[in-house]
């Protein structure tokens, strides 16, 4: 094999930035700038916001957590777990109480992840619930959410199971990766290991539509076995 082919074979085997060459001990200019570009996209995803028109298209209303601003959001994860009093009032007014399945969408650490994936994942998730004979309640969007905001919402709406679609901490490979957290009867005091998650949902990772299709199966099993968590599957 030619050297060029050998190098390509190596590069094909991993998404790692290999075979990039050097100037002395330092990377080449374009390689370095590509790295900086990807970091820039990641940082902007953290500080970005979900496009309002997308939420409207899906018919999701918005509530906020007590995060206040991005700096506080990053330093105080505890505040992102609590919905504001105003938010709770809206939820109580607009949502079906005690739904079988509650769907919640949140920006989390990447608004871009939601913008990029939700228009495909959300309707596919509704289909998946339908195929599994599951009934969703009233879905909504949480701005400034952390994973454990599930517990506060669970406490208020008392769903049998809740699924939270939330933006993940951006990486350099993609800033658009989303997770789906699922929990059987999330309530105050629910612990990490009671939840199940499908992570890395984006077109280059876990296929978004397939992830959505599988969520229905998982929720159905949770309801059948009346439990969820790391020891569940």
């Amino acid at each position: 094999m030619e050297d060029r082919e050998k190098l390509e074979a190596l590069q094909k085997s991993t998404p790692a930035r290999i075979g990039v060459g050097r100037a002395g001990t330092r990377p080449l200019t374009h390689t370095m700038l590509q790295f900086r570009r990807d970091h820039a996209a990641a940082v902007d995803a953290v500080y970005g916001e979900v496009d309002e028109s997308i939420l409207q298209q899906l018919g999701l209303f918005t509530v906020e957590t007590c995060y206040g601003n991005k700096e506080t959001y990053l330093k105080r994860p505890d505040l992102g777990r609590i919905i504001t009093d105003e938010g709770i009032a809206v939820i109580c007014e607009r949502c079906v109480q005690q739904p079988q399945i509650q769907i919640v969408v949140s920006d989390g650490l990447s608004a871009d992840a939601i913008t990029a994936n939700i228009l495909d994942v959300y309707p596919a998730l509704l289909d998946s619930l339908r195929v599994n004979d599951l009934n969703p309640g009233t879905s909504f969007y949480v701005k400034g959410g952390r994973v454990a905001c599930m517990d506060h919402i669970g406490e208020v709406l008392q769903p049998d199971a809740l699924v939270l679609l939330i933006g993940e901490r951006p990486g350099l490979v993609t800033a658009q990766s989303m997770s789906a957290y699922m929990c059987y009867k999330p309530r105050k005091g629910t612990i990490e290991s009671d939840r199940n998650v499908i992570s890395n949902i984006h077109p280059g990772g876990t296929p978004p539509l397939e992830a959505a299709a599988h969520i229905g199966t998982m929720l159905k099993r949770m309801l059948e076995r009346q439990t969820s968590g790391t020891n569940f599957f």
Binding site: M1, V121, I198, L209, E210
Partner: protein
Amino acid sequence: MDELSFTSVGIDIGTSTTKLIVSRLRLGRVSGALHLPRYEIIERELHYASPIYSTPLLSQDEIDMDEVARILRHEYDHIGLSLSEVKSGAVIITGETATKTNARRVVHYLAERSGDFVVAAAGADLEGLLAGKGSGAEQRSTEFPGVVANVDIGGGTANVAYFREGKAIGTVTFHVGGRLIRLDEQGLVHSVSQHLQKWLLERRIPLAEGSKTTPDQLKSIASAMCGEMLDYLSKEAVDPSFRHLIAGSPPPGPLPEIDELMISGGISTLMADREVPESMAAIARYGDIGPLLASSLRQQADKWPFRIVTSGQTVQATVIGAGMQSVEISGSTVHIDPAVLPLRNLPVLHLEYTGIRPEDWRQAADEAMLEAAKYALPEAEAPCAIALSGAVIHSYSTLQMVAQALLDTFTGHFPDAKIMVVVCEHDMAKALGQALSIRCGKCLNIVCIDQIRVERGDYIDIGEPLPGFLVPVVIKTLAFS
């Protein structure tokens, strides 16, 4: 489930020998806890290998089916294996035996009597492929970036399979094998295979049944057979007469460049013998020219540009391939109706959709089904398997259009079908299956599986689901075109 194992058998009825192996295949989860479940066969353990039996024949043209069945029963009893324990595997009929008059009946008969999901298989390409898997050539090709070819030389044929990055990329078969000339220690020729006769004739080598031959004549025949085969594989010019040694029609495109050649099969066992057979007695010690082919391969090994290595699995490569490597498993997120499984021998209809716009799907699917109608089984509950290859579909609206197009065209072409089988190359079966299922309601059972690559002309068998909702699959590849 995190781990699960099942038993698989391989049965090889070859030109000169018949053998059986029993293996344990272990499935393990290979995706992290935070990802969609994905299982793979993580270990294939050879559990038992039978003695090597002479293939029982009733006549030159007919296999002694009862005797093969008796061998099988004896072996199952001997190791205490019950049919219900055997969850997968393959019966393969190889080399010249595949041309016997009752070959087809024998493999099906045996497949049905060897376990729950044991498939019948035949064909030189498949044989070469299984040997290449069993010999370790497929695995070897994942270890460095180059092409590994396996040539499995037995009694009747030399089956070559090419692998790159763990994937089969081609096959070719030659009429090169030990049993093509049978003789005794006095040099009396008992038979010459008809495939060889044309070649001998064109090369003006006088060798006929009932005539006497000499060690020198046989040596030059063996040397020419092996030498030209390797010349052909390394793309050197060969004598025009060589076309007679190519089984079937010559491969359509150019053969891949080989970086490493692995040799398996009965002849490779004989290659370990460093002594060159000089006397007629030594040459004909097995009643054929096997020992000469082996020594001539060994002597000429340095001449070619690729590394030549002998496989760790020599004589058993094909049966090990059949028993341990024939079964694949689907992705773990699939949409199936367990009640309709297993499904056997479904002809594959292939639809490559790269570059097809969503609005053109209907036409593309229609054309593919029209073509498939030629070989599909319209009266069967499941007339065919629709294989989709192309990148994963990520857009919800595209997927809906695709599902509608597939369903409309399928029901149009196969109005009596009860089961619609879709096999996706990439991870999208559950999403597509759900979209299909929402559309067709109760009128069709949908079996939609993924992470299986099949081609037009293949046949596919789909087994009952293993816990975790993945299914074992056996693909019978008939050709690389």
